[in-house]
């Protein structure tokens, strides 16, 4: 349960809000590289943290993320012409470069220097791991580039998608650290999904439907361990890392690619659900990539030509009551991604946490909220750089392993939880 003012504090990410300021300390995923596939390609409208922006790749391949609207009469530059190292407004021909600097005002003499005095707000945009990342904070505080393992392995070892989710970012993100829902909502998918099935560890999930949880702080966020009974005086541990403010890793299964999410606010009522899959030591196979493209695992099928899930609120998520009754799916919705999204969207645009009734096993969620609010407050009051900004905090891995019962998971899985180049994930 949160008080109304706490719920506002932690869910609002627009300019000038405490949580918005926190988000603006980090590099965040803005677009997929495929959205700006070549030099001088069409620009793309982007809304992030309640700011309307426009992304484009200029004639030399330089990336820009600028205010969407022309400084002259306020028209959308999405209609602009991307040509000769700049984006030209079709209304009166004003032209802007990737930094937002106006470089031409055709109606004014060049000698007047008028163009030099016009500049649109802009943010840096960098390409890494098939993702275009932006940093929307104070330029003087710009951190080093992100080092999450999925975006540092060779491109044939990684696959990332995004989908629009029509609810506040926090209720979506909380699903990623709420490990206790998996045994219910996703129970059918463990044995059917090509990206999960066949792992030796799955038998522990099936045999013990009441895992016990442990939550510990980590440098960048949290580690959430779910343990189940295993043979020979051992526990089977599935460890989910959360890196502030919004990165989560799903514990691996066998040698399947490992995956996780980012939830990035578009505005306070919508977010992008980013889903990555990668393997630390080998290329993804054709069949794995095909399964991901087909919406298996944590990915979804799309309305063609969009990032809107094919099953979405406008078609009641293609609810299948027969499948629900027969137990093929627990909620009647197909696919892990949309099973989560459908329920999270049903909470409303912003979940009213004043009415919720949490239980002890919700401590991962409780602690994440607590850390977010504490970090936002420390940033506001003391300028403290929040956890998760330092790229060293990104080098964490999810893990699934067997440990003796008297071993603390954070200690026993210490090596497994570090992303090391060329070292396979620790998985059962």
């Amino acid at each position: 349960m949160l008080k109304p003012e706490q719920n506002d504090y932690v869910t609002q990410t627009g300019p000038g809000t405490p949580m918005g300021n926190l988000f603006r300390c980090y590099w965040i995923p803005a677009l997929l590289s495929e959205e700006l596939p070549e030099n001088d390609c069409p620009p793309v409208r982007v809304k992030l943290l309640s700011e309307r922006l426009l992304a484009f790749r200029d004639s030399e391949g330089k990336l820009g993320l600028i205010d969407e609207f022309c400084a002259h009469r306020g028209v959308s530059l999405w209609f602009g012409r991307n040509e000769d190292c700049g984006l030209r407004c079709p209304y009166h021909g004003w032209k802007f470069d990737v930094t937002g600097q106006c470089v031409e005002v055709p109606s004014e003499p060049v000698e007047s220097g008028y163009a030099k005095k016009i500049k649109l707000k802009s943010y840096p945009l960098i390409e890494k791991g098939g993702v275009l990342w932006t940093y929307m904070g104070d330029p003087a505080q710009q951190p080093p580039e992100p080092e999450f393992e999925f975006c540092t392995v060779p491109l044939n070892q990684t696959f990332t998608t995004k989908r629009i989710q029509e609810c506040n970012w926090l209720q979506a993100m909380e699903g990623g650290i709420d490990s206790s829902h998996v045994s219910w909502l996703h129970r059918g998918d463990l044995s059917n999904d090509p990206l999960f099935k066949g792992a030796a560890g799955n038998k522990y999930n099936m045999a013990d439907l009441a895992p016990v949880f442990e939550v510990v702080e980590n440098d960048g966020g949290l580690l959430i361990g779910a343990r189940r009974n295993a043979e020979d005086d051992q526990y089977y541990w599935r460890i989910t890392p959360w890196v502030m403010p919004t990165y989560t890793g799903v514990p691996p299964r066998g040698d399947h690619p490992i995956h996780g999410h980012f939830w990035i606010p578009i505005d306070d009522h919508n977010c992008w659900a980013w889903s990555y899959d990668y393997h630390p030591t080998r290329p993804l196979t054709d069949s794995e990539v095909q399964a991901m493209r087909d919406g298996k695992g944590i990915h979804v099928k799309y309305v063609p030509g969009t990032y809107i899930p094919l099953a979405n609120k406008t078609n009641d998520y293609l609810m299948n009551r027969e499948a629900q009754k027969a137990g093929r799916t627990f909620s009647g919705i197909e696919g892990i991604g949309m099973q989560d999204a459908s329920l999270q969207e049903s909470m409303g645009p912003i979940c009213d946490r004043t009415k919720e009734n949490l239980v002890g096993t919700d401590n991962g969620v409780i602690m994440a909220r607590h850390r977010l609010m504490r970090a936002a407050k420390a940033l506001a009051e003391k300028g403290t750089i929040p956890p998760g900004v330092n790229p060293e905090h990104h080098k964490v891995r999810q893990a699934a392993l067997l440990l003796k019962r008297d071993v603390q998971f954070k200690e026993g899985a210490k090596e497994a939880l570090i992303a090391k180049k060329g070292v396979r994930q620790t998985s059962v």
């Binding site: 349960m1 949160l2 029509e166 609810c167 016990v212 949880f213 442990e214 939550v215 510990v216 702080e217 009522h269 609120k313 406008t314 078609n315 009641d316 998520y317 459908s342 969207e345 049903s346 409303g348 645009p349 912003i350 009213d352 009415k355 009734n357 949490l358 239980v359 002890g360 096993t361 919700d362 401590n363 409780i366 602690m367 909220r369 607590h370 850390r371 504490r374 019962r405 008297d406 603390q408 954070k410 200690e411």
Partner: protein
């Protein structure tokens, strides 16, 4: 025409959610397992709570050794902030959930007595380990080992502020 899901998930529709208290006051029993955590419990208890009871120590008869079974055999008492000794089994029976708190590296073995009472009445037990200044990872690990066999949820809290935040989140 919009689907039902599309119509029902708008901000406009959220305004029609029924406003009423959807839960009754619940009884949380918050128990310190050692002297250091007793100070924390004492401090936290001074905040306004929604029915939570706070206990700073546990005493038990010798025959109620850890692991003893059965209500009659379990002779143990919780000591509240006013200095009253209350029967552990009765307190746990009246609880909706039980929270035990230990400071890293302190002797937390008394948890097994409380766990026996929880088991007797099928109550959920949450364990909080609060790091002490200078406490090593080994000390935290030792505390976790004491609590692990009994707690449905184990948390290494960042500090006293998390104890407050968690209890508030649970409407204690």
């Amino acid at each position: 025409m919009l689907s039902e899901s599309a119509r029902m998930t708008t901000a406009q529709e959220a305004a029609y959610r029924i406003q009423y208290p959807n839960s009754k006051r619940r009884a949380a029993k918050v128990i310190a397992l050692d002297r250091t955590s007793a100070k924390i419990v004492d401090e936290v208890s001074r905040l306004p709570w929604n029915g939570a009871s706070f206990f700073t120590s546990l005493s038990f008869a010798a025959k109620s050794s850890p692991g003893s079974e059965g209500g009659e055999a379990l002779q143990a008492w919780l000591n509240d902030l006013a200095g009253h000794a209350l029967n552990l089994v009765a307190e746990v029976e009246a609880a909706d959930f039980v929270v035990v708190i230990t400071a890293a590296g302190e002797d937390a073995r008394a948890v097994s007595i409380i766990a026996d009472a929880c088991k007797l009445h099928n109550k959920s037990l949450v364990g909080l380990v609060v790091p002490r200044e200078g406490a090593s990872e080994d000390a935290i690990g030792e505390s976790l080992n004491h609590l692990r066999p009994y707690a449905r949820m184990l948390v290494v809290a960042s500090g006293v502020d998390y104890v407050e935040a968690m209890l508030m989140a649970l409407r204690a």
